[in-house]
């Protein structure tokens, strides 16, 4: 029996304010233990730094402090609060630790991209192409146009195919054909993006001769990657629509296709839109397939069906891989293009959120 089971009325002079709080660590205790653990770790690293004259290792001190915190909070909680609370504290510490660990690369990446990217984040950068630019100056307008055109075309190809496939799978598909499609979609999800690029390149080489690189080939490569994501996400969303709504519509004498168009799709449109937006963000950063299928160019190209077409990820890659003179100009352009790409993806995600919020079924009173 632990101390928490039965707080007995004590005869001491100090009255207990709330007997239910007995046997609990006070609220600030975890923070104090964390501080103490970091202090201990800092002391160890300080001694080490003094011993061999090296610089004080902040990162190491924080990391060891955090690691030290996990067993100590468990121990203290075990002593004061008992097994159940101790386990709770331990798992809380582990989960929070995992979260912090996952955030570190994200924050570091954001800070790095923003600091390096801001060097060339100017008007020129968004109004010029790289035509006749050597060394400093130049811009990514041609790559932005390419990315928008190719991703947009990929979306135009993939969304109808993907959405209709998922409607078939959820509403009509029974038996072997549906199982086969599900299996193939799963396989498609796992296709390495470079293979999609090679597929599109080979496909267009057959019809237009070897060495053809066009924007439409890039778009086809992207849609190969995008279709399975759209199918999967919209399938999940369509399955979430309660069967009762379909039956309610059927009972009103509504044909099946109208039920799907007017009841099932509107009910799940928010989730479907989010899924589609996420699938776009997934393919907009693809480099390898576009490098193969669409190639890259220094000039503006508005025509998907003629000539090579740059895109932001490929632009970043080429600027970094083929640095000219001065190399800083190339690196700055690469970082700024990377920042642009991240901002575009962020904007898409934001739009997806807004759309989801806007379209979601309302439950107001």
């Amino acid at each position: 029996m632990s101390v928490t089971t039965k707080p007995e009325p004590t005869a001491t002079a100090v009255p207990i304010e709330n007997s239910l709080t007995a046997g609990r660590l006070p609220t600030p205790a975890p923070w104090m233990i964390l501080g103490a653990a970091i202090l201990v770790a800092a002391a160890i690293f300080g001694v080490l730094a003094l011993a061999d004259g090296s610089e004080f290792n902040w990162g190491g001190a924080l990391l060891v402090g955090a690691v030290l915190y996990i067993p100590s909070i468990w121990l203290f909680s075990m002593l004061v609060e008992g097994r159940r609370r101790a386990m709770d504290r331990l798992v809380t510490a582990l989960v929070t630790g995992a979260f912090v660990l996952a955030m570190i690369p994200l924050i570091s990446l954001t800070i790095t991209v923003i600091t390096f990217g801001l060097n060339r984040f100017d008007v020129d950068f968004f109004t010029m192409s790289m035509r006749n630019v050597t060394g400093e100056g130049g811009g990514v307008l041609h790559a932005i146009v390419g990315t928008v055109l190719m991703t947009g075309t990929a979306a135009i190809i993939s969304i109808p195919i993907g959405l209709m496939t998922s409607i078939y799978l959820v509403e009509y598909g029974r038996g072997r054909l549906a199982r086969g499609i599900t299996f193939l979609v799963d396989v498609m999800t796992g296709i390495p993006s470079i293979v999609a690029g090679l597929f599109a390149y080979a496909l267009f080489s057959i019809f237009l001769g070897p060495g053809t690189r066009t924007g439409i080939a890039g778009a086809v490569a992207l849609s190969v990657l995008m279709i399975p994501v759209v199918v999967r996400s919209s399938e999940e969303m369509l399955r979430l629509v309660p069967n009762e709504l379909r039956e309610a519509a059927f009972a009103l004498g509504v044909p099946k296709w109208l039920t799907i168009v007017k009841v099932v799709l509107p009910t799940s449109i928010a989730g479907i839109t989010t899924g589609i937006m996420l699938s776009i963000s997934r393919v907009i950063g693809e480099t390898a397939p576009l490098l193969i299928a669409a190639g890259f160019t220094q000039s503006m190209n508005w025509n998907l069906f003629d000539g090579r077409m740059s895109s932001l990820p490929v632009f970043v890659y080429t600027q970094y891989a083929n640095q000219g003179n001065p190399p800083e100009a190339y690196l700055d352009r690469a970082w700024a293009a990377a920042l642009t790409l991240i901002l575009i993806v962020m904007a898409l995600n934001l739009i997806a959120r807004l759309v989801a919020k806007f379209f979601a079924p309302k439950f107001g009173r």
């Binding site: 029974r174 309660p242 009762e244 709504l245 379909r246 039956e247 309610a248 519509a249 059927f250 009972a251 009103l252 004498g253 509504v254 044909p255 109208l258 039920t259 007017k262 009841v263 509107p266 009910t267 079924p361 309302k362 439950f363 107001g364 009173r365």
Partner: protein
């Protein structure tokens, strides 16, 4: 404009499983018929065969005949969609369309079928249906609010309004009050009394008091055991079923000796 239903030797299957066996009964127009019986005995399954909702479930099929005013529902050339426009249904759990307002929910049968309706006609239909479902006074000021914002009982009456807005001949109700409190149940039972004047109503219920209160005739279904098909045991006037049934099982069930 209500219709007579005649069922002849109906067997209902889920895939290979025979769920309901050999049901034959006749339902008079402008009457309330209650189906009672223990859970899993096939009441709801049988009810759903009366407007071909049964076949929505994959693998489900039916043998036998259901005649509505002499026309067989299960004739191969019959379009189930047209059947369902004549035989409306109210479900156990209220299921208003979450994307639609109260008004749109009532008009769902019209709007979803892409039929055009003038604004005044639409407003009249909404008011008539909501009044018919005893809901008009409660929602007349908030017709454009989402239907899912209503209370459970109001939602169920909204579903009834939605069902009668397409002016069916028959209304099937699958335990319409099982998710509702006594007050809402009373409201719906009163409504059934009124609807009886115009429609043929078939109601499945677990509540025997409810069956005795609202129905003119009662059918008792039973099941011999798990995995066995459900059967129609006895079908007679409600007073007969509840006062002196001819079958022992019926008497046991209605007197609460089992089930």
């Amino acid at each position: 404009m209500s219709k007579r239903i005649e069922v002849r030797d109906l067997n209902v299957y889920y895939g290979k499983f025979l769920a309901v066996e050999g049901v034959s009964l006749e339902i008079e127009p402008r009457s309330v018929t209650a189906f009672i019986g223990p859970s899993g005995c096939g009441k709801s399954t049988f009810l759903r065969t009366l407007n071909r909702m049964h076949e929505v479930i994959p693998g489900a099929r039916v043998e036998g005949e259901v005649l509505i005013d002499g026309n067989n529902l299960y004739d191969p050339d019959v379009d189930p969609v047209l059947v369902r426009r004549q035989v409306g249904m109210v479900f156990q759990r209220p299921n208003p369309f979450p994307t639609m307002s109260i008004k749109e929910n009532v008009l769902a049968g019209v709007k979803l079928n892409n039929r055009r309706i003038s604004k005044t006609d639409a407003d009249d239909l909404v008011e008539k249906s909501l009044r018919g479902a005893n809901l008009w006074n409660e929602v007349k000021d908030r017709l454009d609010r989402p239907g899912s914002g209503l209370s459970g009982g109001q939602q169920q009456r909204l579903c009834i309004a939605r069902a009668i807005a397409v002016s069916p001949e028959v209304i099937l109700m699958d335990e319409p009050c099982s998710a509702l409190d006594p007050i809402s149940t009373l409201a719906i039972e009163d409504l059934i009394e009124e609807l009886k004047l115009q429609y043929t109503i078939v109601i499945v219920t677990h509540n025997m008091q409810q069956a005795s209160r609202v129905s003119d005739r009662t059918a008792f279904f039973n099941i011999a055991g798990t995995g066995k098909p459900g059967n129609l045991i006895e079908y007679a006037d409600t007073t007969t079923i509840f006062s002196n049934p001819t079958v022992q099982a019926t008497e046991d069930y209605v007197s609460g000796r089992f089930g």
